[in-house]
Every structure is written in structure tokens, then in C-alpha cells.
């Protein structure tokens, strides 16, 4: 637990709200007028220089969206969102589109620097240090400086820069913003966009299809193992502006890619909306590993402000023996509504979902996964660790189903919940459905409270209360932390410690 030591230092530096990324930046912004209409969608599409088919696609989604109602089934409560009271497009003025680093507003670079994400490649490489072989040595504090991660930085509605593009291109990997992909690789986008999450999928996905602004595009061709971690860092800065990210990742036959997304937002009194769609496609023998460290602003101690995080993430194991693995560490957002799922279409394909969801204060989390077994001999594995503290509500919602033709479908589900204090709630809502008699589904679930005995024991060794809890919780989530790319595991442990700050006393 190397994190714990640092957790306290960090926590001490943060003021009452404990959210260290809560700063705002004054940057000249180019905005669409408030509200949503066909004109706004035309505006966004024009800003992005999109081909007409893309605009049509958006408009069709919009026309459908106006006929839809917000979903009500999740265990989350919030005042009705006025979708006409939001800005749907905001871009830093100096960045008319994807640019080379030298064109990026230095103020923007400073924002990312402040977030610990340097975007200047030469500096990143200069900062690369030799890693120590000792198993106890703490990995470099800042993974983005390790030189092993390429970053796409998305600021409000646009991608401001993507690092290491050239190196990746040499390997045949395309890594760019989705806006750039629509212009530069229309055939790929046309083929795959909306093929996993159709525009009609659900209220938020349909909205996203109409207004999505930026996100990442990854294409790993046949037989290529992506030579570095790919990562997108989302920053929501502008007031009253929704962020509608769209990410599309394609791994062709035998390809492999590991991708991580991180995100932060300033502290604001109003709620902000983030409605993303992520689509993953794995062809025969391909593998995609998608990790999320979600740290949107959770709101203040009274439950004011914070991000509404309504996200549709789905992976399609389209090819035989393909594999998609979701790992998520969810610590931020006022409300999280998120179910990264796998469609196990190819024979012998497999899906995994590893999740840590921490809620504190007034946070509400309703998250889980769906594993849809369609092909033969498909398998899935779900490990979910929910930690609820303060007055928060934390729900795991999962669905595992085996189609009629899915012979020998296998699932293992393990959901553990840990309660800190007695004013929070943890709930587990599993649905299981097997239409094929050969399916074998296993489900385990536990709910426990952090034990006073354990806490006393740890504190007796000189570890203060907050750190003692962070230590015990990090032990509780170990199985999932181990699934994260090694470089990010330490970061995630720290984050968990920080988000539990204030959960006692």
C-alpha cells in the first residue's frame, strides 16, 4: 500500500472539499448558443468540418431523441434536467481543430500540467526515469511522465492535442480524436460508429449521438500489438456545458490494445452533465483492455454541485476467441449511471468487468455490467467492489444472459460491498437469464461493514484513522486494482484514499 503514505500528504493539501482538481481556468472560449435544436447540431457539425453523412446521422438521432423519455429504473434521484439550459459546444478559441503541439494555447498546456499530465513529448521523454526492479519500489508517481502512455487531451468539446501519434503510426496504430477520424478515416468511422451502441439505444446514447463533440478514436490493425498504453484525459471546464464524449476503439484480427481514460472537472455549484458513449469492437483473436479512472467533481459536503455521469459503454466481441475487459475505478461524480457491457458474439469469446465504485458524501452510484452470451463456449467474469461511506447510495446492477444458441456459456459473478458508517446504503441487483440449459452461472455476493476491530488493530500500529480506513479499503479492492495497468494502480489507490477522506468522525 505505498499509496497510503502519500494519500495523507495530498489530502492535507486539499481544502474542505478535498477535490484537488477543482480549479477553474479562464480561457477564451468559442461557444454555441445555449440550448438544443437542429440548428445547434448543424453548428457543431460545421465547427467540426464534418461530411454531410455525419450531419445526417446526428440529425436522425436528434429527431429520435425528442421522442424519448429519460430512464427511471436506476436507483438515483435528481431534479429534472433542463436540456435547453445547457451549452452543447465549447472550445478553446485558439484551437480551431486538432493541432500540433506548438499551436496549443500555453494556458491549456498549463492546465494539463497542473493536472499532472504533461503534453509536451520531449519533456515527457526527458522525464522518463529508469524503473527500479525492487518489488516494493513505488512506481513513478506520475504515470503520464513515464513515457509509456500516449495521451489524447480533450478539453470541454474538443481534443486539444494527441501525443506520440507518429510513433503509433509507425506501428500502424491510428490514435486521434474522433473529429479528426471522421475527416481523415471516414470509411472506418462509417463502418463501425453506432455498430455497437446504435443511435436508438437509450435516451442518453441517443442524445450523445446527436451532439457528441469529441472523444478518441483508436484503430489497431490486424496482428498489431499496440506498443504503448493509450489514454484519453477529459477535462470539463466551461460552466453549464455538457460534455458528450464519443470514443470508438477497433481491434482487428489478433490485435491488442490497452486504453485508459481519466477525467476531472472544476468545482461548481451547479450540476454538470456528462453523457458519453464508448464503443469497442474486437475481431477474431483480438483483445481490448479498457480502464477508467473516473474522478469527476462529486459535489461538495452538502451535496451541492457535481457531475451527472450518464454513460453508455459497450464492447462487442465480434470475432471468435476475442476478449474485452473493462476495469473501472469510480470515485467521482454526483450521480453515476454506467454499465460497461460485453456482447459475446464470437464463439469462445470472453468478457470481463472489474469494478471499484466508491461513494461518499451525497454521491449516488448505480453501476454494473451486462454480459450477453450469444456465441458458443463464451465466458464472462464480473468482480465488483462497492464501497459506500457518508450518506451515499451505492448500487450494483448486473445482467447476465445466455441466448438460446449460446451453448456452454459460463459466468462467474462476485459482488462485495463494504459500508463505512451507518448512514449509507449498498444494494445489489443481479439479473440472470439462461435460455440454454448448458449455461453455468455462479453468483456470490457479500455485504460487510468496516470492522471496528480491524480499524483499532491498524491504528494501534500508529496509522491514523483516515489512513487506517484507506488501507483496509485498498485491501478490500486489491483484486480489482491488480487488473489496472500497473502504472495506474498506485494512482487509483491514492484516489480511493482521497475520496474516502471525511468519511469518519
Amino acid at each position: 500500500m505505498p499509496a497510503v503514505q502519500d494519500t495523507i500528504d495530498r489530502v492535507r493539501k486539499i481544502d474542505v472539499d478535498q477535490y484537488k482538481y477543482g480549479f477553474q481556468t479562464e480561457i477564451a472560449m468559442d461557444k454555441a448558443p445555449k440550448g438544443l435544436s437542429e440548428d445547434i447540431i448543424r453548428f457543431i457539425s460545421a465547427k467540426k468540418d464534418e461530411p454531410s453523412w455525419m450531419l445526417e446521422w446526428r440529425l436522425e438521432a436528434y429527431r429520435r431523441w425528442v421522442t424519448l423519455d429519460e430512464p427511471k429504473w436506476a436507483r438515483v434521484h435528481y431534479p429534472k434536467i433542463d436540456f435547453q439550459d445547457l451549452y452543447y459546444y465549447a472550445a478553446p478559441k485558439s484551437t480551431p481543430g486538432p493541432t500540433s503541439l506548438s499551436d496549443v494555447d500555453p494556458e491549456l498546456l498549463r492546465v494539463y500540467e497542473k493536472l499532472g499530465i504533461p503534453l509536451k513529448e520531449q519533456e515527457i521523454l526527458a522525464g522518463v526515469q529508469k524503473t527500479d526492479a525492487s518489488e516494493l519500489e513505488e512506481p513513478s508517481d506520475n504515470v503520464y511522465k513515464s513515457g509509456r502512455v500516449a495521451v489524447d487531451a480533450v478539453f470541454d468539446s474538443v481534443s486539444v492535442v494527441t501525443t506520440f501519434k507518429k510513433e503509433l503510426a509507425q506501428a500502424g496504430v491510428i490514435f486521434c480524436s474522433i473529429s479528426e477520424a471522421i475527416r481523415e478515416h471516414p470509411e472506418l468511422v462509417k463502418k463501425y460508429l453506432g455498430s455497437v451502441v446504435p443511435t436508438s439505444d437509450n435516451f442518453y446514447a441517443t442524445l450523445n449521438s446527436a451532439v457528441f463533440t469529441d472523444g478518441s478514436f483508436v484503430f489497431v490493425p490486424k496482428g498489431v500489438r499496440c506498443p504503448m498504453e493509450l489514454s484519453t484525459y477529459f477535462r470539463m471546464n466551461e460552466k453549464n456545458t455538457g460534455q458528450f464524449e464519443r470514443t470508438l476503439i477497433i481491434a482487428e484480427e489478433g490485435a491488442y490494445v490497452s486504453y485508459l481514460e481519466g477525467c476531472t472537472a472544476p468545482q461548481r455549484d451547479e450540476n454538470q452533465l456528462h453523457a458519453a458513449v464508448v464503443e469497442l469492437i474486437a475481431l477474431d483473436d483480438a483483445e481490448i483492455k479498457y480502464s477508467t479512472v473516473q474522478n469527476w467533481y462529486p459535489g461538495d459536503a452538502e451535496g451541492k454541485g457535481g457531475i451527472y455521469n450518464f454513460v453508455t459503454k459497450r464492447g462487442d466481441c465480434r470475432g471468435h476467441r476475442s476478449k474485452i475487459s473493462w476495469t473501472q475505478v469510480e470515485t467521482g461524480s454526483a450521480i453515476t449511471w454506467k454499465y460497461p457491457s460485453c456482447i459475446l458474439r464470437g464463439d469462445d469469446s470472453s468478457g470481463e468487468f472489474y469494478s471499484i465504485a466508491v461513494s461518499n458524501g451525497y454521491q449516488q452510484v448505480d453501476s454494473g455490467t451486462k454480459m450477453i452470451h450469444l456465441g458458443k463456449n463464451t465466458s464472462s467474469r464480473i468482480i465488483s467492489k462497492g464501497i459506500a461511506a457518508g450518506l451515499s447510495q451505492n448500487t450494483y446492477r448486473g445482467q447476465v444472459s445466455a441466448h438460446r444458441k449460446a451453448t456452454n456459456a459460463r459466468n462467474f459473478t462476485n459482488c462485495d460491498s463494504l459500508l463505512i458508517g451507518d448512514q449509507c446504503g449498498a444494494h445489489t441487483v443481479p439479473y440472470m437469464e439462461a435460455k440454454n440449459a448448458t449455461a453455468k452461472f455462479e453468483h456470490e455476493a457479500t455485504t460487510s461493514k468496516i470492522s471496528e476491530d480491524q480499524k483499532f488493530y491498524v491504528m494501534q500500529r500508529g496509522i491514523p484513522e483516515e489512513e487506517a480506513i484507506a488501507l483496509i479499503v485498498n485491501g478490500f479492492v486489491k483484486d480489482v486494482i491488480q487488473q489496472l495497468p500497473m502504472e495506474f494502480a498506485v494512482e487509483a489507490q491514492k484516489l480511493i484514499g482521497i475520496s474516502l477522506e471525511g468519511s469518519v468522525g
Binding site: 471496528e452 491504528m459 500500529r461 496509522i463
Partner: protein
């Protein structure tokens, strides 16, 4: 070093008084043994010394180096040098023993204003301490106390004690669950910690341990009070005649 004066303490939940006017003084350099029948309040006393919140002190005081510690939380007491080797050590799933040691040592160093230990120095200390207790380093990669045998847990307690170098060591039935060889090894470990500026309180039921770790004083606890104190011969007397005589005298 430790002065317990007319201590009264009860269980917060139901108000039952467990410690009822207990007096005990342990000087620096001293090894004190506490004996007493089951349920007399020995473990409770150790928990109260360490600051467990389930118990409430209603009267009296605990002075450590002349200062009352009643207002300090368990972590503060630990960093000030009070160590409790638990009768029943807790399991901490998912936290490797090695990591736990590192966090604990560094937290204590930090509280004293010292730099965290460098990894090689840390490893060296752990290796030396583990070797002296005949503990396998492989075990230290496992989550703390999880699946450890009874005796292994006790050894792990002494390992932590050695590494944390406390001033006041309280050992609650560290001998129970140890095999004959382990008893010797652990006793040697404790004896090595004897020093003029350290006090050791040993809670035990058996004279056998006191043959290895010779106490300077022996105290009999009964119904939340120290009813008799003496030197090591008192332990021999108890071994031979049981508690009945001592309890009778006190009544």
C-alpha cells in the same frame, strides 16, 4: 513509565463496569507480569491502555511518562511508543504484511518528524527481524494474518513489535498457541528488547513463559482490580496453588 491510578472503566454499549479501581505502576526497565483468572479484565485493560473506543474510563487516570493519555486516540498512543501484541490479532485481507509494516513504520517515523525509510534499509530491518524470529520472508508477502496459524500470528505480532521499537510493550497471552520451540524463539525476541528505558507488561496464564522471560514484578488481576502484587515467586505460588488462596486473602 506507566502509572494506572484508581482506574474505573465500563463498556460503552451496556455500561457494564469491567475495570473497578485498578492501580498499577510499571517503571522503565521493568518487566511486569499480569496474571489472573479468565474474564478478570486483563485483555480489557490492555485495550484501554491502547485506547479502544468501546470502553469508557469513568474514574481514575492512566499516566504514561507522567502524562495522561486518556484523550489520545489509538494511533497517537501507538506513535508515542505504546505497543499491544494482541491476544487475537486481526486479519487484514488484501494488505501484504510487508506493506503493512512499511506503512506502520513510516507513519510512526512521520509522527516523530523523521524521513520515511529508504527501501533497502526497510528491507534489511525486516529481513533481520524476521530471521531472528525464524520467520519465512515468503510469509510476509501474504496478507497480514490472513490464514496464518495461531502461532504464526503471534510471531507476526512480535515481529511488528521489534520493528516499531516501542517504549511500553504490552503482550497479551503471546505464549498461547506457540509450540515449545516457538516459545523459546519469541521469548528470546522479547528478552532482546529488554532495556533500561523500556517497560514490558506480559499478560499470561502460565509460569512456563515466565521461566523464559523473567519478570521483575507479578500482579494478580481479579474482577477488574490488582488484588496482589509480588515478585516472580508469586507466579510460582500461583502455579502451585491456583488463584483460590490469593482471592480468599483479598476478599
Amino acid at each position: 513509565m506507566l502509572e494506572i491510578k484508581n482506574l474505573h472503566a465500563r463498556i460503552v454499549d451496556d455500561g457494564t463496569e469491567i475495570i473497578r479501581g485498578l492501580n498499577l505502576t510499571v517503571k522503565a526497565g521493568e518487566v511486569a507480569a499480569i496474571m489472573g483468572p479468565n474474564g478478570s479484565g486483563k485483555s480489557t485493560l490492555s485495550y484501554i491502555l491502547a485506547g479502544r473506543e468501546d470502553y469508557e474510563v469513568t474514574e481514575g487516570d492512566i499516566l504514561y511518562n507522567g502524562q495522561s493519555i486518556l484523550e489520545m486516540d489509538p494511533a497517537e498512543r501507538a506513535t508515542s511508543g505504546i505497543f499491544l501484541a494482541f491476544q487475537y490479532p486481526m486479519e487484514i485481507p488484501g494488505v501484504a504484511t510487508m506493506e503493512f509494516l512499511k506503512v506502520a513504520m513510516n507513519e510512526q517515523r512521520k509522527a516523530r518528524g523523521e524521513e520515511p525509510l529508504k527501501i533497502p534499509e526497510f528491507l534489511k530491518r525486516v529481513k533481520d527481524a524476521a530471521a531472528s524470529l525464524n520467520m519465512d520472508m515468503a510469509m510476509l508477502k501474504r496478507p497480514l494474518n490472513v490464514g496464518f496459524s495461531g502461532g504464526e500470528k503471534k510471531r507476526a505480532e512480535i515481529l511488528q513489535m521489534k520493528l516499531l521499537e516501542p517504549n511500553l510493550c504490552v503482550l497479551d497471552e503471546t505464549d498461547s498457541g506457540l509450540d515449545i520451540d516457538a516459545l523459546k524463539i519469541v521469548s528470546d525476541g522479547v528478552n532482546a528488547l529488554r532495556s533500561p528505558d523500556r517497560a514490558i507488561v506480559i499478560i499470561t496464564h502460565y509460569q512456563r513463559l515466565l521461566q523464559h522471560i523473567e519478570p521483575d514484578t507479578v500482579h494478580v488481576l481479579y474482577r477488574g482490580q490488582v488484588i496482589k502484587s509480588g515478585d516472580k515467586s508469586l507466579a510460582l505460588d500461583l502455579e502451585a496453588n491456583g488463584y483460590a488462596g490469593v482471592i480468599g486473602q483479598a476478599a
